[in-house]
C-alpha cells in the first residue's frame, strides 16, 4: 500500500512551498515558521493518507468485484446446467404427457349404456295427445320409426338414443311438472363429452395411436354399439356435443319423411302440397339474396311469412316437441313467445328446409365465390334470432348446426386422412351418390368446404351489440373452431382443415379482428403462419392457406409473418 504513494509530490517540492512563502531569510527560525512547516507537514500527511486510503478502498473494491464476477460466472454455469436439466425434465414430461394423451380412453365405457333418458319419455307419452287423430299419429309414428330401422340400418341409433325420437309427435302435457327428465338426452351426452379428459390417464397406453386418430368418427352411426368406445377415444379435440347433432340430424330426417311421405297418403294431402309450396318459396328466396342488404328484405319477408304461416297453424299440422331438435331443452321463459311444450311439425319442418337451403346455397354459391357467404350468413342469423321464432326464448339454430355438423365436420373438430375411405368419411367428403362407394371429385369437395367454412364464419361473426335480440350463434364459436383446428398435431392436419380454415378467414378477418383485437391477430398468425408451416402434410391446400397471409399483407397491410 505504501508503494502507491503519489510520486509527483517529492520532498523538495513539499518543503519549497513553505520557503517560497517567506520573503526574508532572517525569520527562518522563528516559531511561526516552524509552526507553518509543521502545519504543512500535517496537511501533507493527511492528504497522503487520504490518497492512500482511497487507493486501498479501490483495491478492496476491485478484489470484491473480481470475486463477485467469478462467483457470478459460477452461478451462471450452475443456472445453465440447472436450466438444461429442467428443460430435459420438461421435455420428458411432455413426451410422457403426449404419450398419455394420444390414446384416449373409451369415454362411454365408464358410464355404460345409460338408460335413464328414455324411461321418463316412454312412460309418459301415453298421457295426452294434443293433435287431431291421436291414434293415427301414434301409428304413423311407429311407422316412421320402423322404416328407417329395417330398410336402412345405417342410420340405426343405439336404443337409448332412439328413445327421444320415439316421442316426437306425442304430447305429454303432464311433463311440465317434472321437466328434469326431458333434459336427459342432451344432458347425458354432455356428461359423456366432459368425462373423457379426466379418464384419459387411467387407461389406454396400450392402444395404438394411429388407428385411433383415423377412426372414422361417423362409424358409430352405422355400428353404434361396437365402435362407440373407439370413437370417443379421439373426442377430446371435438367440440360440444357433435353426437347429439347426429341425433338431431336423424330426428330431422324422420320429420321430413313424415311430412313428405306419410302425410301424402292421408287425407292431409293438403299438408304435403302446402309444405311443398312453402318449401319452394324458401328455396327460391335464398337464391334471390344479393350483396345489397336492403334488397334482401323481400326474400327475408317471404321466408318469415312462410314460417309464420306454419307456426300459427295456417296450414294445420301435428304438434312436436322442439327439444328433439335442440342440444338441450330450455325451461319456459317468462315473457317469451312460444312457451308451450310443442310447436307445429310444419314449422319445424320449414326451419329444417331453411337450414338445408342455407347449407346448399352456401355450397353452391359461396363455394365458388366465398364473398357470397356474407349475405347468406346475415339472413340466417336474422331469422334464427327473431324472437317470434324462438322456442321458450331459445334459438332453434341447432337445426342448422346439425346439418353443418354432418356436411362439414371439420368445423366441430373432426379430422381424418383423406387418402383413406374412413378418413374421407370423417371429414365430410361427400359420396357422389347416396350409398355409393365413390366420392365426389376433389374440386367439388374443396368447393363445399370453402362455402361452408365461409358461411360458418359469416354466421358466427355478427355484431349484435346494437341489436335488441341476441345472437343465436356467438362469435366465440368461431374462436373455438379456429382453436380446435389449429391445435391439431402437425402430422394429423389435413387438407380439408386447411381449406375450411382458409375459407373461414378470407374476407372475414376484419370482422374477426373487430371482436378479438390483438388476440385475434395472434390467432390469425397461428392459423395462417404456424399451422400450415408446421403441418407435415404440405400440398396445394396448405400452400393456399399460407399464401393467404401474404395476401392479407398485400391487401390490408396486416403483417402476420415476423
Amino acid at each position: 500500500m505504501g508503494d502507491s504513494l503519489p510520486r509527483n509530490d517529492d520532498p523538495a517540492s513539499l518543503l519549497g512551498r513553505s520557503f517560497l512563502g517567506l520573503d526574508t531569510f532572517e525569520y527562518r527560525n522563528s516559531e511561526q515558521v516552524h509552526r507553518d512547516a509543521l502545519a504543512a507537514a500535517q496537511a501533507e500527511h493527511a492528504r497522503v493518507r487520504e490518497v492512500a486510503v482511497r487507493a486501498y478502498e479501490l483495491h478492496e473494491a476491485r478484489l470484491a468485484q473480481v470475486e463477485l464476477y467469478q462467483r457470478s460466472l459460477q452461478e451462471e454455469e450452475r443456472v445453465r446446467i440447472e436450466t438444461a436439466r429442467a428443460e430435459a425434465e420438461v421435455r420428458l414430461r411432455e413426451i410422457e404427457n403426449a404419450a398419455k394423451r394420444i390414446p384416449i380412453p373409451p369415454p362411454r365405457l365408464p358410464t355404460p349404456p345409460p338408460p335413464p333418458p328414455p324411461v321418463p319419455r316412454e312412460s309418459e307419452p301415453a298421457a295426452v295427445v294434443a293433435t287431431p287423430p291421436p291414434a293415427n299419429t301414434s301409428q304413423q309414428q311407429s311407422q316412421i320409426e320402423q322404416q328407417p330401422v329395417s330398410t336402412t340400418p345405417s342410420i340405426l341409433q343405439p336404443p337409448t338414443q332412439l328413445q327421444p325420437a320415439r316421442s316426437p309427435f306425442v304430447q305429454a302435457q303432464a311433463r311440465t311438472t317434472q321437466p328434469q327428465n326431458l333434459f336427459q338426452p342432451p344432458a347425458q351426452s354432455k356428461t359423456a363429452q366432459a368425462a373423457p379428459p379426466f379418464q384419459q390417464n387411467t387407461q389406454s397406453q396400450a392402444l395404438p395411436n394411429v388407428s385411433q386418430q383415423q377412426q372414422p368418427i361417423q362409424k358409430p352411426i352405422q355400428q353404434p354399439e361396437a365402435l362407440k368406445p373407439v370413437v370417443k377415444q379421439s373426442s377430446h379435440h371435438l367440440l360440444w356435443t357433435p353426437e347429439r347433432y347426429l341425433e338431431i340430424f336423424q330426428n330431422l330426417k324422420k320429420l321430413r319423411k313424415y311430412i313428405r311421405e306419410d302425410s301424402a297418403s292421408k287425407p292431409t294431402k293438403e299438408l304435403k302440397n302446402q309444405a311443398g309450396n312453402l318449401k319452394r318459396s324458401i328455396v327460391a328466396s335464398l337464391g334471390k339474396l344479393t350483396l345489397d342488404v336492403k334488397l334482401n328484405n323481400g326474400p327475408k319477408e317471404t321466408i318469415m311469412n312462410a314460417l309464420r304461416q306454419a307456426r300459427d297453424g295456417g296450414v294445420p299440422s301435428i304438434q312436436v316437441d322442439p327439444s328433439l331438435y335442440m342440444i338441450s331443452k330450455p325451461e319456459p321463459t317468462e315473457g317469451a313467445r312460444n312457451n308451450g311444450e310443442t310447436m307445429p311439425a310444419l314449422f319445424l319442418y320449414l326451419l329444417n328446409i331453411l337450414a338445408k337451403g342455407i347449407v346448399k346455397q352456401l355450397i353452391n354459391e359461396a363455394g365458388p365465390a366465398p364473398k357470397a357467404a356474407e349475405k347468406i350468413g346475415f339472413l340466417t342469423v336474422a331469422i334464427f334470432s327473431q324472437s317470434e321464432f324462438l322456442w321458450r326464448g331459445h334459438t332453434m339454430i341447432d337445426i342448422l348446426m346439425a346439418k353443418m355438423r354432418v356436411s362439414c365436420p371439420v368445423l366441430f373438430g373432426f379430422r381424418g386422412l383423406e387418402t383413406t375411405i374412413e378418413g374421407r368419411a370423417v371429414v365430410g367428403w361427400k359420396r357422389d351418390k347416396e350409398g355409393n362407394k365413390s366420392f365426389v371429385a376433389a374440386q367439388v369437395h374443396s368447393d363445399r368446404m370453402t362455402g361452408l367454412g365461409a358461411g360458418y364464419a359469416s354466421i358466427c361473426l355478427r355484431d349484435f351489440s346494437k341489436s335488441a335480440v341476441t345472437s343465436p350463434w356467438k362469435p366465440w364459436h368461431y374462436w373455438q373452431t379456429l382453436a380446435t383446428i389449429t391445435s391439431t398435431p402437425p402430422e394429423e392436419a389435413c387438407s380439408t382443415q386447411f381449406t375450411v380454415l382458409k375459407a373461414m378467414i378470407e374476407f372475414s378477418e376484419q370482422k374477426f379482428l373487430k371482436f378479438y383485437g390483438s388476440a385475434g391477430v395472434a390467432a390469425l398468425r397461428v392459423a395462417l403462419v404456424d399451422f400450415p408451416e408446421n403441418a407435415t402434410q404440405k400440398g396445394a391446400a396448405n400452400m393456399s392457406l399460407a399464401v393467404l397471409a401474404d395476401k392479407l399483407l398485400k391487401d390490408t397491410g396486416l403483417r402476420l409473418r415476423q
Partner: protein, 517 residues
C-alpha cells in the same frame, strides 16, 4: 380446451424470458417455452406414415383415393416435334404446379386464386408449352370451363423477362372487350405478387366508345407494359401508330380463336397483327369450338402447331345438365314468363343467365322477374361500353343474381357462381347474311351453356321450346352433340323438383373427368 393451445402459442416469447424462475405451475403448461411456439413439434409422430411428399396428398390428389383420369383429350405433335422423335409415348403430364418449375411469385398467385392443381388441359398442355425448346405453337380445343384462360395466362407470365419491364413481350387478342377485360383481370390477379423490381404491368387495349362520355380517353404514347391484352382493332391501331413495339414479343395468344378468324374484320386484323410479330414468337390458339373451315385458316396463322383436340360428342360439358321446358303454346309468350318464374324455386341457384334473342324480350323478362323480387340486370350490344363493363362487374360481384343478355355474353365470360343458364330462345343463325332461312346454331348453344358448370361444377341448362320449329331446332342441337335433353314438366312442381335433383346428382363425377388432371 383447444383455446389454450393458441393462447399458449401467443404467450410463448414472453415465457422464454422466465426460464430461470422456478416453475410455479405445472411444467406441462410451460412446455412451450423451451421448444418455441409449437408445443407439439417434438412429440413423436403417431403417424409414421405421414406424408412428406406433397404430391401424394394434395386435396384429393394421388394416394389411395386417386381420381385417376387422363381425360378424353387427344394430343397431336407438330411436325417439328415429330422430327425430334416425339410421339404419344412421350406425353408429359404434370400433377402439380411445382412440377413446372414456375416462379414462386407466380405460384403464390395461382394458390391465391384457388387454383389448387392443374386442370386436365393445363396438365397436358403446359409441360409442352413451358418446358420445351423451342416452345411449340399450339391449337388448343377444350370444353368450356376447363381452364383454357389459365393455360395461356400462365404461359404468358412464365415467358416474361423481368429485366425488360417496359417492353411488350406477351400479347393476347380476344374478340370482345368484355373478354379482354376479363383476361386482363386474370393475368393481373395471377401476377399480383410480382412486386418491387418485378412489378407486372398489363396494358388493356380495348377501344374507347366514341358515343360514351364515360369511357376513358384513348391511350396516347407508347405502350410500356410487358403484357398487352386487347381486341384486334385496337391492337392493330396501336401497332400502326408505332405505339406498340412488337419486335420483342415472345408469345401471341388468340382467345376464342374460331370466332376471331371466322369473322371478316377480326380475322383480317389478326392476320395483319401477326405480320408484325417476330416469326420466333410462340403462337397459341384457344377455343372450345373449331369448325372445319376455321381450322385451315388457323394453321396458316399458327404454323406447325401441336394440337389438343376433343371429339364433337365430348364437347358438351357433362356436368351441365341439359333440360327443356315445353311452354304453353296457347298462352304464347306469357306462358314462357310464367314458366320462368316457376323455375327458380326448383333448385338452389347461385347466379343465372337468361339468353334471349331480342332486346324487347329482355325488357319484358326483366319486368316480370323484378316483380318476383329477383335482382335482375340487362346486358346487350345496344349499351355503351362503360355501361357494359359496369354491368358485368356488378354481376361478377354478386350484386345481381340474374343476368338477361343476348349473344354478346355467350363466350368466354367466366363467373363461377353461375349455376343456371336459360335459353329463352333456342339459338339460331342465318344461313347467309341476307337470307331469311335460319338453322340451329350449335356453336353458340355450346358457348352459352358453357357459362355454367365452370371448372367441374354442376350446372343446369334449360331451353324453352314453344312451337314446332323451336322443338325441331333443339332436337337438332341435341342430336349434333349426342346428348339427351330431359323434359321438365312444370305442372307437377314436386315431381319436377325431384327430377332436377336426380339429374343434378346423377353421376356428378362425369363432369370431373374433363377437369381433373
Amino acid at each position: 380446451m383447444s383455446g389454450n393451445a393458441s393462447e399458449d402459442a401467443e404467450k410463448a416469447p414472453s415465457l422464454a424470458d422466465r426460464i430461470t424462475r422456478p416453475a410455479t405451475s405445472s411444467w406441462a403448461d410451460e412446455v412451450s417455452s423451451p421448444t418455441g411456439a409449437t408445443p407439439t413439434k417434438d412429440t413423436p409422430s403417431p403417424l409414421p406414415a405421414a406424408q412428406v411428399d406433397g404430391t401424394a396428398t394434395i386435396l384429393g390428389g394421388s394416394g389411395m383415393m386417386e381420381d385417376d383420369d387422363d381425360g378424353p383429350i387427344d394430343l397431336y405433335y407438330s411436325d417439328q416435334q415429330k422430327q425430334r422423335g416425339l410421339d404419344s409415348q412421350d406425353r408429359r403430364i404434370i400433377k402439380t404446379w411445382e412440377d413446372l418449375g414456375l416462379n414462386p411469385l407466380l405460384l403464390k398467385g395461382l394458390y391465391s386464386m384457388g387454383f389448387l392443381r392443374p386442370s386436365n388441359i393445363q396438365s397436358q398442355a403446359l409441360p409442352h408449352l413451358l418446358l420445351e425448346n423451342p416452345p411449340p405453337n399450339m391449337i388448343g380445343q377444350s370444353r368450356s370451363g376447363t381452364g383454357k384462360t389459365g393455360t395461356f395466362a400462365i404461359t404468358m407470365l412464365a415467358r416474361l423477362d423481368f429485366s425488360k419491364p417496359n417492353i411488350p413481350q406477351a400479347m393476347c387478342i380476344a374478340p370482345t372487350r368484355e373478354l379482354a377485360i376479363q383476361i386482363v383481370g386474370v393475368i393481373q390477379t395471377m401476377g399480383q405478387y410480382f412486386v418491387g423490381q418485378e412489378t407486372l404491368r398489363v396494358h388493356s387495349a380495348v377501344s374507347p366508345d366514341p358515343k360514351d362520355p364515360n369511357s376513358p380517353p384513348p391511350h396516347r404514347g407508347p405502350v410500356n407494359a410487358m403484357v398487352v391484352v386487347g381486341t384486334p382493332g385496337t391492337i392493330e391501331g396501336l401497332i400502326k401508330q408505332r405505339q406498340l413495339n412488337t419486335s420483342q414479343l415472345r408469345i401471341v395468344v388468340l382467345d376464342e380463336a374460331d370466332q376471331m378468324l371466322s369473322s371478316q374484320g377480326h380475322g383480317d386484323s389478326s392476320l395483319r397483327i401477326k405480320r408484325f410479330t417476330p416469326p420466333t414468337a410462340q403462337v397459341l390458339l384457344f377455343s372450345a369450338t373449331f369448325p372445319e373451315n376455321v381450322n385451315k385458316f388457323a394453321s396458316f396463322f399458327c404454323p406447325d402447331p401441336m394440337r389438343l383436340e376433343l371429339k364433337v360428342e365430348e364437347l358438351t360439358v357433362k356436368g351441365i345438365k341439359q333440360m327443356f321446358v315445353d311452354c304453353d303454346s296457347q298462352a304464347g309468350r306469357d306462358g314462357q314468363y310464367e314458366t320462368l318464374v316457376q323455375l327458380y324455386g326448383l333448385t338452389t341457384i347461385g347466379q343465372s343467365i337468361i339468353f334471349v334473342k331480342t332486346r324487347a324480350t329482355a325488357d319484358a323478362i326483366e319486368h316480370k322477374l323484378s316483380e318476383a323480387d329477383h335482382q335482375v340486370l340487362k346486358l346487350h350490344g345496344g349499351m355503351l361500353g362503360s355501361e357494359r363493363d359496369n354491368a358485368i362487374q356488378r354481376f361478377r360481384n354478386g350484386e345481381f343474381k340474374v343476368l338477361i343478355t343476348t349473344n354478346v355474353f355467350a363466350r368466354g365470360i367466366d363467373i363461377s357462381a353461375i349455376s343456371l343458364v336459360i335459353n329463352y330462345d333456342v339459338p339460331m343463325k342465318r344461313l347467309s347474311p341476307n337470307g331469311r332461312d335460319e338453322v340451329p346454331d350449335f356453336e353458340t348453344y355450346l358457348h352459352r351453356i358453357g357459362r355454367t358448370g365452370r371448372f367441374g361444377r354442376t350446372g343446369l341448362a334449360i331451353s324453352f321450346v314453344f312451337d314446332k320449329p323451336s322443338f325441331d331446332a333443339l332436337s337438332a342441337i341435341g342430336n349434333y352433340f349426342g346428348v339427351e335433353m330431359t323434359r321438365l314438366d312444370l305442372d307437377d312442381l314436386d315431381g319436377a323438383e325431384t327430377l332436377v335433383k336426380d339429374i343434378i346428382n346423377k353421376n356428378q363425377k362425369e363432369n370431373q373427368k374433363a377437369v381433373s388432371g
